[in-house]
């Protein structure tokens, strides 16, 4: 399959995402400049982490109007796969491709840490290789990761099983202590109505090798590979 990684001025996890796609997953990967107007055949587009446009005005507010975003919006509308990690999640919310918004962490501090998140639904292209309720260890590094949405939006996300990840403790319980940024209902990641656009604050692309603390992100990327390659049902590893 072919991954497309958008590079905005100020992105800093773009190189990492390209490395994961090419070296770890053994796929093709193309860097897509923010001024580009087409996705060059990418099956799955990643909006990477970083500080696009210096986080000016609001995180993701400028990036959302980059020329490449028109192509990303068309891709998403046609059912194409889109993933946003961290700043990518913020951009997807600003663009209205995902509901809600990400605001300053409740602590007002930038957080750089390993967190545990629970897979809330396996009915997405990104999580279908996980067992329901699997607890994954993933890093976070953000200052504006507190997910907010109005009551009606949150209720529809819950009802439609569109909350994809929630911050939990090591035992898999949704508790305030496990919430790194004050996110509403411990939400760490959500998907759109079509379930083909997913955004999350944690960084699965930084959790693909045991050497750097966790390889729990790998299964998520492998889910996408299996989805694109079609047919072949992914084995669900025990506890993964």
């Amino acid at each position: 399959m072919r991954w497309g990684v958008v590079v905005f001025p100020g992105s800093n996890d773009d190189a990492r995402a390209l490395t994961v796609a090419e070296r770890i997953l053994g796929d093709e990967a193309v860097a897509l400049w923010h001024k580009d107007r087409d996705l060059r055949g990418a099956d799955c587009v990643i909006l990477p982490g970083g500080f696009s446009y210096g986080d000016y005005l609001r995180c993701g507010a400028m990036a959302r109007f980059s020329p490449i975003m028109e192509a990303v919006e068309r891709h998403a509308a046609a059912g194409g796969l889109v993933l946003g990690f961290c700043n990518g999640f913020q951009i997807l919310c600003e663009a209205g491709l995902l509901p809600g918004a990400l605001v300053r962490n409740r602590s007002l501090s930038f957080i750089c840490d390993l967190v545990t998140v629970r897979v809330e639904t396996t009915d997405t292209f990104f999580t279908r290789g996980c067992s329901p309720g699997a607890v994954l260890t993933l890093p976070v590094k953000h200052g504006e990761g507190c997910y907010v949405a109005d009551e009606a939006t949150l209720a529809s996300l819950e009802r439609e099983h569109r909350i994809v990840f929630r911050y939990v403790d090591a035992a898999g319980r949704v508790v305030p202590e496990a919430n790194p940024n004050g996110a509403l209902a411990n939400v760490a990641g959500v998907c759109n109505e079509g379930r083909n656009v997913i955004g999350l604050m944690p960084h699965p692309e930084h959790a693909v090798e045991r050497l750097t603390g966790s390889e729990d992100g790998l299964r998520l990327f492998q889910s996408v590979q299996a989805w694109i390659r079609g047919g072949a049902e992914l084995q669900v590893a025990p506890g993964a």
Binding site: L57, P99, A101, S107, L108, V148, D150, G182
Partner: protein
């Protein structure tokens, strides 16, 4: 046509957590300003529009706020306009 000065105030919506406002409130209390009941921290944006009439200018600035300057999910905005003599 005059030049218009637009003052745009962007503030967190009621009900949206404003940790910055809370922190400022705590500091003001610590400094002895105990009467402070609520603090909301927002943004102030100043725009100058050339050759714009007041009513048309107001519509344009509102469109700018809805499109870019404020995020309606989390923020409210308020616009003040005045004609500027060059």
């Amino acid at each position: 046509m005059p030049r218009l000065l637009a003052r745009v105030y962007v503030t967190p919506k009621r009900g949206i957590l404003d940790p910055q406002g809370k922190a400022v409130q705590h500091s003001l209390h610590a400094l002895g300003f105990g009467e402070v009941d609520d603090v909301r921290v927002g943004k102030y944006v100043e725009l100058r529009l050339r050759d714009a009439a007041l009513d048309a200018g107001r519509d344009r600035v509102h469109a700018m706020c809805e499109r870019l300057l404020a995020n309606g999910v989390i923020e409210d905005f308020r616009v003040e306009l005045e004609e500027e003599r060059r």
